[in-house]
């Protein structure tokens, strides 16, 4: 898995043991996995829902689901990928309601999202983060997973449950739309 700016794994060589303990129902191991992964899950949920409240709920639901389905986790996949898969499914379930809400109060939503990003992701480019939320959900998901999270096309396709070619199309269109919406020729430099 290509994840160029992944944080170092605090579990080191004990990761397998930690995951095994988690799968066996060890609460301490579960808490350790939460401490290490919840910020990444929250970041993904925040970008996909564009709402702090929804992202917090998705993050909590992700870990509740992970605990309940811990026996189904296959150790050959990374825990972060598994958690992202769960978070992605939960975000999808909320998209319909989110789109309705955004149409109703789009301006207010964007303002509060900007504030949320400022607080939750210091150092993030606000114009880029806001532009990401204007993309249709599938395009946004594809570009966030592939470009921001660093998953390969095949991994992104697997997480989204679509073909590799469709991911490529979504990413290409997303990048084109982002450049248009950012409205600055320097983005292509």
């Amino acid at each position: 898995m290509s994840q160029p700016n992944s944080p170092p794994d605090p579990t080191g060589g004990d990761d397998d043991a930690l995951v095994r303990r988690f799968r066996q129902g060890d609460h301490v191991a579960f808490r350790a996995l939460y401490e290490f992964h919840h910020r990444r899950v929250f970041a993904l949920a925040l970008r996909l829902t564009a709402s702090r409240e929804e992202a917090e709920e998705v993050t909590q639901d992700t870990f509740v689901t992970a605990w309940r389905q811990r026996a189904a986790f296959r150790a050959e996949a990374a825990v972060s990928t598994w958690l992202h898969g769960i978070a992605l499914r939960l975000c999808r379930q909320r998209w319909r309601g989110l789109l309705r809400r955004r149409r109703r109060d789009e301006r207010h939503g964007r303002e509060s999202y900007r504030q949320t990003v400022e607080r939750a992701m210091p150092g993030a480019r606000l114009d880029l983060e806001v532009a990401l939320t204007t993309l249709p959900p599938r395009m946004r998901t594809a570009v966030v997973l592939h470009k921001v999270e660093g998953y390969t096309m095949a991994e992104t396709a697997s997480l989204m449950g679509i073909a590799d070619g469709t991911v490529k199309t979504h990413v290409y269109r997303a990048l084109t739309l982002l450049k248009q919406r950012l409205g600055d020729g320097s983005w292509t430099a």
């Binding site: 939460y34 509740v64 992701m121 480019r125 880029l128």
Partner: protein
């Protein structure tokens, strides 16, 4: 690779929630034995009430011709389907009761009451089936087992209380 690609790759992969999310997760995962016991007990009560009502209606005998009964006549298929549905709910409630945790005397007593109620219901239902299908009545064993469950539950609850009292006394001495 253009600037947009680079900026996306540099974008933070972590975000910090405004509040601590862990307490909410713990709360969602905390076992709530009382609520589950209540749900199981309610399911059993509803089923038992349904069986009792059914037996009551059956005990009235056929409605005289020309008089309206309490319910419109139903086809045998509907009634058979209803029996199957209610039976499945009974089995699901029993499965839930079986998997309930909790070691306190109150929880052990509630579980035992559930088992006893389940045996009484199944004994009544089997008597009804035997009468309807003209079989030899197979209920004596079940009713006897309900009594045994009651006795065993009383003994177990007494033992749990004694054990708890002994532990408290030991702690006081220390």
């Amino acid at each position: 690779m253009d600037r947009l690609d680079r900026e996306l790759e540099r974008a933070p992969r972590q975000a910090t929630p405004a509040a601590d999310l862990w307490p909410g997760i713990e709360d969602r995962l905390a076992p709530k034995p009382h609520r589950r016991l209540l749900r199981a007990a309610a399911a059993l009560l509803i089923f038992a009430t349904g069986v009792a009502a059914g037996l009551g209606i059956a005990g009235r005998g056929p409605t005289p011709a020309g008089t309206a009964g309490p319910e419109p006549a139903r086809s045998p298929f509907d009634t058979a389907a209803e029996v199957q549905r209610e039976g499945s709910e009974y089995l699901a409630a029993m499965a839930r009761l079986r998997t309930l945790g909790g070691a306190s005397p109150a929880e052990a007593l509630a579980r035992s009451q559930g088992y006893e109620a389940a045996l009484v219901v199944i004994a009544t239902a089997s008597r009804e089936v035997a009468v309807a299908a003209d079989l030899a009545t197979p209920t004596a064993g079940l009713e006897e087992q309900a009594g045994l469950v009651r006795t065993a539950a009383s003994r177990r609850v007494s033992a749990l209380w004694s054990e708890r009292a002994a532990v408290s006394a030991e702690e006081e001495v220390r």
